[in-house]
């Protein structure tokens, strides 16, 4: 195959290939396979270490870029160096967490929209996508004479939220009016639960995997969970004009108020992230924080370390809409307060704001300018009486908590904590469902039991979780992730399906795991599924038609290839390393794995049947032959050779 083949296929930006027919596709797949391999080997040769092959064996490498390798690597190294320099200029994340001599206390209020088809007090359905002002009942617009009608369906997600936060749901809660004038508030007041909230006294546990540093475990108390109305959406227009969209006005929110016990900025961000995960896991809330469905206000206070007594004066930073904003705002506000106190000043109780990407909080209003909300029990609304049986029922039906799920992924399926956290956090929690679907399909493939259906959420773990489920997680996370930067292109659905059907991915993983296909073939198949070149359900057919099955050569053939590699004179220096290893006394010298990989790389390159060779098998054979054949031969030869040299010298 000549280089001319490259010109035949135009590379697409997505990493796919423009293909027309099955025959062409087969050729392309093989071509790609071959080309990538050649590129890789060339690079390995140049690097003179075999590290890349090692990773290939684990089938976890990404598809390497086929562009000339040297500049790319140089670039990568450069950018790494750059980022290292940048990091050393900036304090590390860990260094930002604590200021010696000072204690920090953070309390957080989180607002999240409940997952319910109606607004809190009207049957209108809130929607972020409907045309403006089309989801508005008379009460949402506060028309004179309209009355609130509590929508009991709201209670289901609200109680789920309370339970997810381990709160005690109160037998009776009440609604109060909170008054302030703003055009996002048509009634002039927001209906909330101030005096008698829905639930009280919960807790959220934060650990390292939630974003805490070190092995610390922080239990953050939840003071209360209350139901309340959302405000309208406003859009500022040029010329001081405000557009108001009432679609969101009156939508049902929960407000979650933590106790002020968080001690680090990372804990504050971790708390918000954890609460979002818990709410999503409990199916209580609709959208993620970054999409505006979750907003947080933080209360920050500092005092000198070890000083007894109450918390310092607290300052509220309002309207934070991302985890990063929470952490950055806490850092900035803490540092500002410390600077004030160290300068001999007093921290003033006030409300401050935060601009994304900023470095300082800014004052919005002081205490004297604080709005008196004039809370008043709403005379139009009776108490909400929650039957304990409803709470019991919802508690029984609630699925796994995020924590339990992470424990499961780590303990049962053998994932790393990092991968488990990433997996559960992707695509609004849909990615992990996809993972379960893939596992279930894998299990079906493995047992060959096509008729039996497992529970969709918790498939049985594979027999060898160490490899198969990790392999599956790797593909669901990293391989899928590398297909595109925009994960919305995957179109992941809540029941865990996407443009790459879980069954097809399982087929690829299954055959890869069984060594039926090579990693390269597997990568190409995934690409084909994503680009649509392989129709769903046609993975096996494609492998058959394009003859992509991996037919491994025999052990003897491997040995022959190994012998051929070793016969080349220029590897003698490499072989000497092995000789030294086996001849040493005391065991200080490490086995020269790198050299071994170099030799395996040579095998893959020299072998005429490279397509039918597995690097893992090649490595095994090479390792064995070095120990059992080449080194003994060298030892014998070293004796003989030494004599020969001696003779020569002697001549």
């Amino acid at each position: 195959m000549g280089n001319s083949g490259f010109e035949k296929y135009k590379r697409l930006p997505s990493g796919g290939f423009a293909l027309s027919g099955p025959a062409e596709m087969a050729e392309a797949l093989r071509l790609q396979n071959w080309r990538i391999r050649r590129e890789e080997e060339r690079r390995q040769g140049e690097m003179a270490t075999g590290e890349r092959i090692q990773t290939r064996r684990l089938a976890t490498t990404s598809t390497p870029s086929p562009s000339p390798p040297a500049p790319v690597w140089k670039l990568r190294k450069d950018s790494k160096a750059h980022s290292k320099a940048a990091k050393s200029a900036k304090p590390s994340k860990a260094a930002l967490q604590f200021v010696p001599g000072w204690d920090l206390a953070v309390g957080i209020e989180i607002h999240a929209q409940l997952n319910t088809p109606h607004k809190l007090f009207s049957p209108a359905s809130p929607s972020a996508h409907a045309p403006p002002n089309t989801r508005v009942a008379p009460f949402d617009a506060a028309l004179p004479g309209s009355q609130p009608v509590f929508q009991p369906g709201v209670l289901i997600p609200a109680v789920r939220a309370a339970l997810a936060l381990r709160c005690a749901v109160q037998p009776a809660s009440r609604f109060d009016r909170k008054h302030y004038f703003h055009w996002d508030q048509p009634a002039g007041y927001q209906i909330t639960q101030y005096y008698a909230p829905l639930a009280r006294d919960g807790s959220v546990t934060l650990r390292a995997r939630d974003g805490l540093l070190g092995d610390e475990v922080e239990v953050v108390g939840i003071q209360q969970v209350q139901m309340e109305q959302d405000t309208a959406k406003t859009l500022a227009q040029p010329g001081g004009v405000q557009w108001v969209d009432l679609n969101r006005a009156g939508a049902a929110l929960v407000e979650i108020i933590s106790r002020p016990t968080m001690r680090s900025p990372a804990a504050a961000a971790a708390f918000v992230r954890k609460v979002q995960g818990l709410l999503r896991g409990a199916d209580a809330c609709v959208v993620g924080m970054e999409e505006g469905g979750l907003r947080a206000d933080v209360n920050v206070s500092v005092k000198r370390a070890g000083e007894a007594g109450p918390l310092g004066t607290r300052v509220e930073v309002k309207n934070l809409s991302s985890f990063k904003a929470v952490e950055d705002a806490v850092v900035a506000e803490r540092d500002r307060q410390i600077a004030v106190l160290e300068g001999g000043g007093l921290v003033e109780a006030e409300t401050r704001g935060w601009t994304v990407g900023g470095t300082e909080t800014r004052r919005l209003r002081g205490k004297e300018g604080e709005v008196d909300y004039r809370y008043m029990p709403d005379p139009d609304l009776g108490p909400v009486v929650v039957d304990p049986r409803l709470v019991e029922h919802l508690a029984e039906r609630s699925g796994m908590s995020v924590d339990e799920e992470l424990d499961e992924l780590v303990g049962r399926y053998g994932l790393t904590e990092k991968d488990a956290v990433t997996l559960t956090g992707l695509d609004d929690g849909n990615r992990v469902q996809y993972f379960y679907n893939v596992l279930e399909a894998l299990e079906t493939l493995r047992t060959g039991n096509w008729g039996e259906h497992h529970a969709p959420h918790q498939p049985e773990p594979p027999q060898d979780p160490e490899t198969l489920s990790r392999l599956a997680a790797n593909w669901c996370l990293h391989k899928l992730g590398k297909l595109t930067n925009d994960s919305s292109l995957l179109a992941m659905t809540p029941n865990g399906e996407c443009v790459v059907p879980s069954g097809d991915l399982a087929t690829i993983i299954h055959h890869l795991h069984e060594h039926d296909i090579t990693a390269k073939t597997a990568n190409a198949l995934l690409l084909g599924l994503f680009s649509g070149d392989i129709p769903p359900g046609h993975v096996r057919q494609t492998i058959d038609e394009q003859q992509l099955w991996f037919h491994e050569i025999s052990r003897d053939e491997y040995a022959a290839v190994a012998d051929a590699v070793v016969a080349d004179g220029d590897v003698k220096a490499v072989l000497d390393e092995f000789l030294k290893y086996y001849q040493q006394e005391g065991g200080k010298k490490q086995y020269p794995e790198g050299k071994l990989m170099f030799l395996v790389g040579r095998m893959m390159r020299v072998g005429e049947k490279a397509e039918s060779m597995d690097p893992g098998s090649a490595e095994g054979v090479m390792r064995k032959r070095i120990k059992e054949v080449y080194v003994p031969r060298m030892m014998r030869g070293a004796g003989g050779g030494g004599e020969g040299e001696g003779k020569a010298e002697g001549v």
């Binding site: 004179p144 004479g145 309209s146 004038f181």
Partner: protein
């Protein structure tokens, strides 16, 4: 004779509220209608005319609450009570003038000017003064009013018609623009007692009850309601508090003229509300403020509860809203000293209470306009206790001999005892005589 109807309608529709008495000869500016409907010459046999206070939403006519904020406002939906009455044959003749958002006792605090009585310059009472006059002139057989602290009963007493404030919550408030939600009650005004016959089921129920109760002739005993002396103060804390909240939506953003951008809310509200409404909003905003909440709003809520307990102690019937397990039984040691004992078991218990509707006869319109605010508030002293307790009450008119004015007598019953109350009020009215406003055969 109905020949005058069309002419009168045209005349009334030409501007805001030119009222004409049923006697077409005597045309005077009564100002009791804010807007009028053209009604057909021949009403169906079962139909009756209905005037609607202009703080109750109608689809056909604007709903202004006599406030500049809502002068161009027409509700996209109709109040439940109006729809229910239309189903039963009501023909809406017009929307009646009132004190702005129902706040006032003489129907003088209106963006459309004060209302006057047909044959005199007397105050028609408030805030449902327009509705009372519409009934008194015969232009409407029945008028809808709202009674928050006496706003149906007081005008009824002053204009010599019957005013009925049902138990709180008995009639739907959907479409009633709120003044103080926990007190607002839709009430009915009529010259005759036909209002009680709107629903034959209610009539049948109370007819049976009335026969049983009044057959044995009523016995009259004096009773004491010691906490009612605090009721007026409590009312004027609670009602303005709720009003300040309810009226927050009138901010110049969607209602009323929007003032300059720098202080839109304050300026729009200062320009849009009348003086009495502003006074009550300020009062309410203060009593709800963090510093005053405990001393005023909470205390007033406590008084409200004590007032209700006073009534419960006096009535023979229990209050269906009160869970007996939650409430400790009355202990004689708790009964104030001044309460007269009927027996060793305690003071007398009664079925109904009879008391004046208002402490004074109707003042002249000019006199009422010149009154201080406090004087106006004091007028509500007899009506407010039943409002705080949510009890049903009927004001029946009694002609004052030689004066030409009317005194109102109020009959109050236990909560949800409306059917028996109406029966008794009818007996009382028979005893008192039909009077000028009633016509023979209307019973």
């Amino acid at each position: 004779m109905r020949t005058g109807f069309r002419l009168r309608t045209l005349c009334l529709r030409c501007s805001r509220g030119y009222g004409v008495t049923h006697n077409f000869q005597q045309r005077r500016l009564l100002n009791h209608f804010v807007s009028k409907e053209e009604i057909p010459f021949d009403l169906p046999k079962d139909a009756f005319t209905l005037a609607v206070k202009d703080n109750i939403a109608t689809e056909s006519l604007p709903t202004t609450c006599a406030s500049p904020f809502l002068t161009p406002y027409t509700s996209p939906f109709e109040a439940t009570i109006v729809a229910q009455l239309r189903e039963r044959g009501a023909v809406v003749v017009g929307k009646t003038n009132l004190d702005e958002f129902g706040m006032g006792s003489h129907s003088t605090h209106s963006a459309f000017g004060p209302v006057t009585q047909p044959d005199s310059d007397l105050s028609p009472g408030g805030s449902s003064g327009g509705s009372a006059v519409a009934v008194a002139t015969g232009e409407a057989a029945v008028a809808l009013g709202t009674d928050t602290g006496g706003s149906v009963r007081l005008p009824a007493a002053y204009t010599g018609v019957v005013g009925y404030k049902p138990s709180y919550g008995m009639l739907s408030r959907h479409g009633v623009v709120p003044y103080a939600n926990s007190l607002d009650t839709v009430g009915l005004l009529s010259r005759s007692y036909n209002i009680a016959e709107l629903d034959p089921r209610i009539r049948a129920a109370w007819a049976a009850a009335a026969a049983a109760v009044l057959g044995a002739r009523a016995r009259v005993v004096p009773v004491s309601l010691p906490s009612t002396r605090h009721a007026l103060s409590a009312y004027y804390v609670l009602a303005p508090a709720e009003a300040s909240s309810n009226l927050a939506k009138y901010d110049g953003v969607r209602y009323g003229a929007r003032a300059a951008a720098s202080d839109t809310y304050a300026a729009s509200r200062a320009a849009g509300f009348g003086g009495e409404v502003q006074r009550r909003i300020l009062l309410g905003a203060y009593t709800l403020s963090a510093e005053a909440m405990d001393n005023y709003f909470r205390q007033a809520q406590c008084v409200r509860r004590v007032v209700r307990r006073d009534f419960d102690r006096v009535f023979r019937l229990g209050n269906p809203l009160v869970d007996e397990e939650d409430e400790a039984p009355f202990d004689l040691s708790d009964v104030p000293e001044e309460v007269e004992m009927q027996s060793k078991l305690g003071p007398a218990q009664v079925d109904f209470l009879l008391c004046p509707t208002a402490p004074t006869l109707a003042p002249g319109v000019d006199e009422a306009r010149g009154m201080g605010e406090l004087e106006g508030y004091v007028n509500d002293v007899f009506t407010v206790p039943a409002s705080l307790a949510g009890l049903p009450a009927v004001s029946v008119p009694l002609a004052v001999e030689g004066d030409g004015r009317w005194a109102g007598l109020q009959v109050v019953g236990q909560f949800w005892d409306d059917a028996r109350l109406l029966a008794v009020a009818r007996e009382v009215r028979e005893v008192l005589g039909v009077g000028r406003r009633g016509r023979e055969g209307e019973w």
